[in-house]
């Protein structure tokens, strides 16, 4: 009988210690939540910020931490706005893309170098003509900035003619949950008109094609451009070739006229047409 009483006493004491430990642990959790500003039953108001708590050395470290689910968007933006993406290219150049002002459709592909499911998209983008995107839609790849990605690795995956912007801010602005992720922006309305994840680029291209059809139906089409023949760097290279064939090389004195005589010759030798035009004008 005495042995039974002793055993029961010991068990009760052990249970008492266990309950005390649980209460202590619970109190510590409540205290930690209170320090984080999410205490139960005692919301942390502005007046609490300066109130001192007797937490010993811990009171020196207490910092009010807002309880949020992720980065908050600036007040002028919402879930369909399409802010300008500014960053750097893998080559160290600077690049800013304003999809909301482009006038056409812009497909933003948020990719990483490390994600295995992105590898197929990097490979697909090596031949943009085979992607099946409407010709008026442009493709821009957005990776995180040089603080999170190695430019050399991005450059190794991206083809030279692929527009790539490295910008961590863009991932926050467009609320990108992870990679790969696609956002389609209509430059006419300046809004995001679609976003999501895809396993194959064919799915994305089909959605873009449908969006273009919708835009055309509502006369929201893109700029047609003017047919100007040879253009861009090819035109400038052709000009350089013509000059070189004519014997005019870099540094040729004829490229640096210092007077009108250098351009048109002496006044007596100038073509009479110039005088005629001047009279007529």
């Amino acid at each position: 009988m005495v042995a039974l009483v002793v055993v029961l006493t010991v068990v009760v004491l052990l249970l008492g210690v266990l309950v005390a430990g649980l209460l202590r642990s619970h109190a510590d959790i409540l205290k930690a939540l209170h320090d984080l500003g999410v205490g139960v039953g005692e919301p942390l108001g502005e007046e609490d910020n300066g109130r001192s708590h007797d937490h010993g050395s811990a009171s020196d470290r207490q910092v009010p931490v807002p309880f949020t689910m992720g980065p908050a968007l600036p007040p002028e933006r919402d879930s369909v706005s399409a802010p300008t993406i500014a960053g750097v290219t893998p080559d160290g150049d600077a690049l800013a893309v304003a999809p909301a002002a482009s006038g056409g459709l812009t497909l933003l592909a948020f990719l990483s170098t490390g994600c295995s499911s992105c590898a197929g998209f990097w490979e697909s983008f090596r031949d943009q003509r085979a992607l099946g995107l409407p010709s008026a839609a442009r493709l821009v790849v957005v990776t995180k900035g040089p603080d999170r990605e190695i430019p050399g690795e991005v450059a190794a995956l991206a083809s030279p003619d692929l527009a790539v912007v490295m910008s961590s801010d863009a991932w926050t602005d467009y609320e990108v949950p992870g990679s790969p992720f696609f956002v389609l922006v209509d430059g006419t309305s300046g809004r995001r008109i679609g976003e999501g994840v895809a396993n194959h680029f064919r799915q994305v291209a089909e959605l873009v094609r449908r969006a273009e059809v919708d835009a055309t139906s509502f006369d929201l089409g893109v700029r047609a451009g003017r047919d100007v023949g040879l253009d861009g760097p090819a035109r400038e290279s052709a000009n350089d070739r013509e000059l070189r064939d004519a014997g005019i090389l870099p540094g040729d004195p004829s490229l640096y006229p210092t007077s009108l005589d250098d351009l048109y010759g002496p006044p007596d030798a100038r073509m009479p047409l110039a005088r005629h035009v001047r009279k007529a004008g």
């Binding site: 500014a86 800013a96 304003a98 482009s102 100007v228 253009d231 861009g232 760097p233």
Partner: protein
């Protein structure tokens, strides 16, 4: 109320998108795209900085002075190019002007000041030296008739451009000799 919950991100974020590369810094007004780059040098040619700014989607390959881009412009569009020349141009008459023009007037734009004449457009070109670097600024308006509304937007762009002094190349050879 929206706050700045990620201080590291917010500290870097500016009110306007900012580009910086090759000694050129640009705060882009709303609706502008931009690119600051250097072409790959060929042979003995040494490439210098080129900056393009546009209110429309810049193609991936654009000529130094807008070839391949100006033909895409609508009447309300603007294209601007800042092109750097080599140091041998410093001190020449062409680049005698000190500083980039920041306040252009509508009268500065003429339909015949175009590298590629396209009907309706007009342009202006300025040569100058800023921060010890010789540049030309070339601006095209999509519609000369709408210059009164376009030129203020150009001036807003120009007010956000900064040219930094050229950085001297690192000397070759061991520095301890």
């Amino acid at each position: 109320m929206h706050g700045c919950h990620w201080p590291a991100t917010c500290a870097r974020r500016a009110d306007v998108p900012t580009l910086q590369a090759h000694g050129i810094e640009a705060g882009l007004p709303v609706g502008f795209e931009g690119r600051i780059f250097k072409r790959v040098g060929t042979g003995l040619e040494e490439p210098f900085a080129v900056a393009h700014f546009a209110t429309f989607a810049l193609p991936d390959t654009v000529g130094d002075f807008g070839g391949g881009a100006v033909n895409l412009m609508g009447p309300d569009d603007i294209f601007a190019a800042l092109f750097e020349y080599g140091p041998d141009s410093i001190g020449t008459k062409l680049f005698a002007r000190r500083g980039m023009p920041r306040e252009l007037a509508t009268t500065n734009f003429q339909p015949y000041v175009l590298r590629r004449g396209l009907v309706g457009q007009s342009g202006t070109q300025w040569f100058f030296t800023e921060a010890g670097r010789p540049f030309t600024l070339y601006v095209v308006l999509g519609s000369h008739a709408r210059r009164a509304s376009l030129v203020p937007r150009v001036n807003t762009l120009l007010s956000g451009l900064t040219v930094l002094p050229a950085v001297a190349p690192a000397p070759l050879g061991a520095p301890w000799n």
